[in-house]
Subunit: 336 residues, 3 copies
């Protein structure tokens, strides 16, 4: 790929050779003289100094840090993201249905669809234009997948799940499993069959191994532009607002509503039947038990300590109520 | 489905038309005049008032809240659960083995079995009557699955795993993987081959992405009526007593015994080699490090706070031992 | 299997009959007079006394506890681990490629390879000698798997992932999924295509449902002898040093480096962009937010309590800053 074409694609200013041939998009540490890299702050100026990199993407304020071929852009991190797609070659697939795939006669595949080896597409399912369904995926009855989606291998989409356009689902994710709904019946649990759907908007990203339940009666909803990392559990009837980001190992219990543009850090667990307001931010490892206010940050948990100090702290913590009472007693004695 | 048939199935008292045709089982908010819904407490009286719902299931005490077609039952939530199965249509499968499925010649399929596309059933495995093995599932050698089970797509059942009757396993769950057993060997780890089995009772439910290890020598055991949510990790030689409920993202370390009718909320982690007594209840996000008493509730962790307040609390917490000493010092000075 | 052969394989001293036929390797509790068991400390002397076991592996110091056939070794737990492989029969597979497997013409399978039913091996992939790829696995383009590996059913190995020798991967694990990398773009997220690789060393063990992301530009690295349990999330550009052990439900955020011979207990979550030094130990359920010192132990979190006591403690905890101020106030009043 020529540097001129990249500059054009990024709408950047090229200082250097249009015909410079970029071998790889690389980190500063691993880049060679044939590679393109980027820098977003002066924090990496030293790494740039040491790098053998041949061409750079950088902002106007940092353009003086590099004398070689460079593309000057307003937002170098975003420019890096945009051009990264051009360097991903191994996921390209010519439109085709692998002979080993089992596509039901009543399923509808639009133009440009790729269906990989041993994938299964059930009756009445509909796959939109240019979507790739990789090997081993299962698409249930009457499910729909929009255009230009990428379902990585072994993804399961249950029946009557509906997915928008440009959605990427990493391997072994499960979309539309039955929610955890049971009615107590004299010491036994009677299953509540989950009749709602899962509806996923456009431009959504879902991580590997993540499981999203369908609704009990109404739908589980993941709105446009939501990004979800690996091994996230989203229970039935959860609604996640547009643009919200959810990091790995998060669990969200049933019927909770998460607003737009929230950021939920890793390993957070969120109670059922609460509302996280738009723009809520949650620190990693927190347990969220109550509804939140817009744009506010929340956390729970205690700081890490060396294990000896932690044991002493933990022992004191368990007697915190007693300590409080001793302070109250001191206050009384001093006041009297 | 006619309302009369539903009333009969629920052993409920019908007030209204037997021939009322129910289109959907629906929530009060989404129900139309052709739909059936339910109410369990006066808390939802307003929602019922606003709803366009055509027919209701409710208890005798709330029967006056609705003038339309209604079925009066002792436990409306349980009645809803029971009738929900009748509205699930897309999981019905005629008994058959898809031509793409690989069923070993020595595997035994009972009458009424469904095996979906690209499923694999290995040598010596036995599948009981009316069980559905959906597409992409793998059933290992000499594994047995009872009658009337439903294994959703891409479930893996390892060799020599034994599953009872009426068990439902959600997609991509793994049953019988090797436990995490290694012997230290001069700075390296030597694998302990896991020779025990996984034995799952009747009427068990296992969530999507959940992984249950087989035993090291003796068996891992999941007893009758246990319900387990998504992305739960159950290590080798764990035993889970009848009727216990385990919510999403829970992790249970090896050789721990969990009693009957326990309720373990989401994101709990439980140490190995301990005993949770019958009826133990654990709050969400707790870390359980010791054995418990029957019927008691347990928790760990700290309340969520706005992030500024949380930072102050966390800083104080890290110095809790020092605060304690200052209180002791004050007590001494006052006493003297 | 004869006891003499076992003693020879373990380089142990046989006290008893060489021709004793061992039926099973069993726990003391379940062993019969035809079985072999082991004991590692006097803690299990009572269990041995009660057991019907026919033959034992034990250390010299405990050899007097059992009068039957026995093998005396330096490390009975390690001896148990080593001999356990001989009792695992159902995972043996004759070298072959199941007719339903889809192996691309350009993929290379070395001698002794087993490829199970409905597995998929894509173009340019290379599988080393004696490796078993069980049913339903997916091996992406140009991925390499070394010799003598075992990939359990439905494992996904993405394109350009590289796995060493003697690696065992449990079912439904995902190796090389795209990392969670997005650039903010005026309220939307632009995907950063993940161009790095995942490189896994020799003698690595990866648990069921575990997901390991490929790198963004540089590689994600799992070094020799690392053992990883079930449902672990390892983000892009993480590096895990040789011999480190990671228990179930752990999450490791992006670009974090974990040293050699660390032990990370279950349900730990580790921030991104930090360094855990060699030999770091982390207690279960901790949140690790900062880099660590070599060979030290760390923890966070608070002890479990009965739920009533926990509620009081939690209420006090939320007001810890206020309690601190009251103590300061007392100190001032006493000092004046």
């Amino acid at each position: 790929m020529k540097l001129g074409a990249i500059a054009k694609a990024l709408d950047g200013e090229l200082l250097g050779s249009e015909t410079f041939e970029v071998a790889r998009l690389a980190s500063l540490a691993s880049a060679t003289e044939n590679d393109l890299s980027f820098i977003v702050s002066t924090r990496h100026a030293d790494a740039l100094e040491r790098s053998r990199v041949g061409a750079m993407i950088l902002g106007r304020d940092l353009a003086h840090l590099f004398a070689g071929h460079r593309i000057v852009v307003a937002d170098p991190y975003l420019a890096y993201a945009r051009i990264s797609a051009a360097f991903e070659e191994l996921l390209h697939e010519a439109p085709s249905v692998h002979p080993s795939a089992c596509v039901h006669a009543s399923a509808e595949l639009a133009e440009g669809v790729f269906v990989g080896a041993n994938a299964v597409i059930e009756s009445g399912a509909r796959i939109g234009p240019d979507t790739r369904v990789m090997g081993g995926c299962f698409i249930g009855k009457q499910a729909t997948v929009g255009s230009d989606c990428l379902l990585h291998p072994n993804v399961v989409v249950y029946h009557d799940v509906h997915i928008g356009d440009r959605v990427v689902v990493q391997a072994s994710a499960v979309l539309g499993s039955d929610g955890f709904g049971f009615a107590p019946d004299g010491g036994r649990w009677t299953r509540i069959h989950q009749l709602g759907r899962l509806v996923v908007g456009n431009d959504v990203e879902i991580g590997a191994g993540t499981c999203v339940d369908r609704g009990a009666l109404d739908d589980t909803e993941i709105h446009d532009g939501v990004i979800i990392d690996n091994l996230v559990h989203i229970a039935h009837n959860v609604s996640i607002g547009a643009g919200t980001a959810i990091a790995g190992c998060v669990g969200i219990a049933g019927s909770t509503t998460i607003g737009e543009r929230c950021t939920i850090a890793g390993a957070v667990s969120i109670n059922g039947h609460i509302d996280l307001a738009d723009g809520t931010r949650v620190n990693g490892g927190s347990v969220i038990t109550k509804s939140t206010q817009p744009g506010q940050g929340y956390a729970s948990g205690t700081p890490m300590q060396e294990v000896g100090a932690w044991r002493r702290t933990a022992a004191r913590h368990a007697r915190l109520d007693e300590l409080h009472k001793r302070v109250v007693s001191l206050e009384k004695r001093i006041a009297s």
